[in-house]
Homo-oligomer: 469 residues x 2
């Protein structure tokens, strides 16, 4: 680049600045942060959701309680409307506590290991299954072993999370495929069961569950996660005795679908009511912990965003909607239903922010849209700087909101500090105590700030046909 082009580029890149408006924005953002840090409801709400209701697997009584409770909370906020959106959800149950143990007569005797069924897995029958184990670290190794080695055995995917990635979600992305599809692949080779090294950066005794699915054309075999500590021990034991036998017992089951709900609260926009800005998280969680980080945090932060904007007496120009989605974890039925209904009604979501990466200290946002829109948001970064919000990264969104893409929606994911997330994710350690109050509050305030700015200034996108409904 020619250096004399710089002033021209800077001239273009620096947005028109109106000092009075900037001062007003600075003060309002400060007021929301102050409110969040000194008078937050989010943390108390999370206390109730995690400790009084607990794990909220789709179809469970706890999920139903969470629907009713969050509807009541939204009802107390003085919104323009609060409603439930019905949706049929899968109803998978874990059954009795799973049993995992291996027996190695020559070397190790019998050892109990911590396992948990993956969500969606079939059970083993009440007698359990007992078989030899083939350890692999990839599908390539699975293929190399081939059917002769695998038939009648349990396939053990022992692929550790890559430690070198700075953002832990990248390591998760490298392993989660085995959880989702590994049982089906193993079944193709005649395996009778599947064990997955838990998706965690930590070596400990807690197994991490998560959803899986079977392809249409293979036998459904039981699939379980084993704690990272026990995965290491099992791997070591297999080196000494490749013929050791593993016993797995799981009584999980897929029951008929149940009726559940997305929970929605809305403040109508005063100038552009047809332009919706959505904030949301998912109300369901896994059943082994309390779902405090995943995604109780995102739910209470989303509710708090509306409360914070009201607390500073801000009158939104656009319609602000808080959506607590049902069934993100094992079906995304709430997300599908919400998008389908929204499209059917001809709604337009200008932007959607999802918080579903834990209640940790926020670093910024991942944004999926065209570069000009991302640059417009980046131009607000000086307003975020006092709050240590420094990331405005290309690419982002959330499993519950990504389906709104067809409306031309700017999809945004809150990006909290990620180092500890997978220590808790889908494990019994995901409890209220693992969430820091101030980190949760800072996340809510960061979301509220971005909602405020997008509402006040709009986003530089093609005009929307407001009459298309």
């Amino acid at each position: 680049m020619k250096w004399w082009l710089l002033p021209l580029l800077l001239w273009i890149a620096v947005p028109e600045s109106d000092p009075a408006s900037e001062e007003e924005d600075t003060a309002r953002i400060r007021a929301m942060y102050d409110e969040s840090l000194t008078n937050s409801q989010a943390y108390r709400w999370l206390d109730y959701l995690a400790n009084e209701i607990g794990g909220r697997l789709s179809g469970s009584p706890q999920a139903a309680m969470a629907v009713e409770w969050s509807r009541q909370v939204l009802d107390t906020l003085g919104l323009d409307s609060v409603w439930l959106q019905p949706v049929m959800v899968p109803h998978w149950i874990r059954g009795e506590k799973e049993i995992g143990r291996y027996f190695s007569p020559n070397h190790y005797g019998m050892e109990e290991v911590n396992v948990c069924a993956l969500g969606g897995s079939v059970g083993t029958g009440s007698a359990g299954i007992t078989a030899e184990v083939v350890e692999v670290d990839s599908y390539e190794q699975l293929e190399a072993f081939g059917e002769d080695s695998i038939r009648g055995r349990i396939v053990f995917y022992n692929t550790p999370m890559e430690q070198r990635h700075i953002r832990t979600f990248h390591a998760y992305g490298g392993c989660v495929g085995y959880r989702w599809a590994g049982a089906g692949k193993a079944s193709e080779y005649g395996a009778v069961g599947m064990l997955l090294r838990s998706l965690s950066h930590k070596t400990d005794e807690h197994p991490h569950t998560g959803s899986m699915a079977y392809p249409e054309d293979v036998a459904k075999i039981p699939a379980a996660a084993i704690s990272t500590l026990h995965a290491d021990r099992l791997s070591e034991a297999l080196k000494n005795d490749p013929q050791l036998r593993f016993h797995l017992r799981m009584t999980c089951d897929n029951l008929p679908e149940k009726l559940s709900y997305n929970v929605i609260g809305e403040i109508k926009g005063s100038e552009y009511p047809d332009e919706i800005i959505l904030v949301g998280g998912h109300l369901d969680s896994w059943d082994n912990g309390d779902g405090a980080h995943d995604d109780g945090a995102g739910c209470v932060q989303s509710m708090e965003v509306l409360r914070l904007l009201q607390a500073i007496d801000y009158q939104p120009k656009r319609t602000l909607r808080c959506v607590l989605f049902m069934n993100e974890e094992n079906g995304l039925r709430g997300a599908k239903k919400y998008a389908a209904e929204s499209n059917r009604k001809g709604e337009y979501h200008m932007a959607a922010i999802e918080s579903d990466a834990g209640g940790f200290a926020p670093q910024g946002f991942g944004i999926s849209d065209t570069l000009p829109v991302i640059e417009q948001i980046r131009a607000w970064s000086p307003l975020f700087k006092p709050y240590d919000i420094f990331k405005f990264q290309e690419g982002g969104g959330g499993a519950d909101i990504n389906r709104l893409r067809s409306q031309g929606t700017t999809l945004i994911g809150l990006m909290p500090e990620s180092q500890r997330y997978f220590d808790y994710h889908h494990a019994s350690t995901d409890v209220f105590e693992a969430v820091n109050r101030r980190e949760l509050q800072l996340g809510a305030a960061a979301m509220a700030t971005l909602v405020y700015l997008m509402d006040k200034y709009g986003l530089d996108k093609p005009a929307v046909d407001h009459d298309r409904s």
Copy 2:
């Protein structure tokens, strides 16, 4: 500013860039991060220091063990020299577990509360003291009450940490004065004891200790911290019964000084051996927890910096020195001795980095020097960006290194994410389990990166007279 000045300023601000060198830097920094995240010793070292040795109050057997252990660890790293620097330290002991309770016949009966002596406090005698309580939130209130109200009573400083500060250290700065000097001030008005609301952002049952001192000319009265939870309860109880009586028993004592050591390891520079770059933390800690965050983390990170540079076969041009200071918490004797000896020898520390703000995910550095030096360091920020290091803030350092200022040293403090620090700081909750492995490792790698860059490129400062010794 005139906009046409911009290209000129940019021309000045953009450093000469050498693509080959930049590529080499990128690769070396990546290699240190990879080593830290996959083969770190820091976390194992911290495990030993916190769990096998534990709290390391100056003068205690544990502090002596920590000196010997860390010397041995440094000895295994293949440095050019490792030595102990003798220093006399205060020897304050806590004695038996403290007792705090209040009795309010009309309203509350008797309630036990969690208290702990402040470091340096005198004891109460074995019978303890019992007195009425005067609650204040500031010295202004103390003065307003005056001697008539305070004489013979216990002064209770109930000043909560300000929640609105984003960086929690600012809130600490607003309260720590009461801990340090509050007993002396209360004594001036005839108080017989002092209670301090614990310096924590969290409401819980753990008292937080910390150092205090008496002025020369007042009676020494016992000073204790009370947990935030019990501070709230005591305050409530006082509203109902201002005449309630508080009983405090502490057998802490100041014993004669003991001999201890700073622990030092060094790699001699190949080109500028007289220019020292120091990395350090403090080896002593309070006695109620394990001193894992404060400052076990800083010690193991500082040792790890030298190990990481060796692991990538980097030959430093300057002398790199790891210093584990003794007695930061209640006397700074190690810091004083180190600076005095260094000055006596005519040494020149080009830069010093201290890690003493917890083993949390690093955000950047606070830097005390002239603006050109800070700008030079900021120009390296693109190399830090992949690692989420975004802060290069004016102002920073550390209690142990600040005395090197007279050498013209660039003083630098590692700035980790601060939200959780004061939940653990000086409390029994500061244990190994509160430190996340990856966050600790990222901090060590960030420090190693800055040491590498400062060593390779030097800092743009006035030339040093290497012959002044």
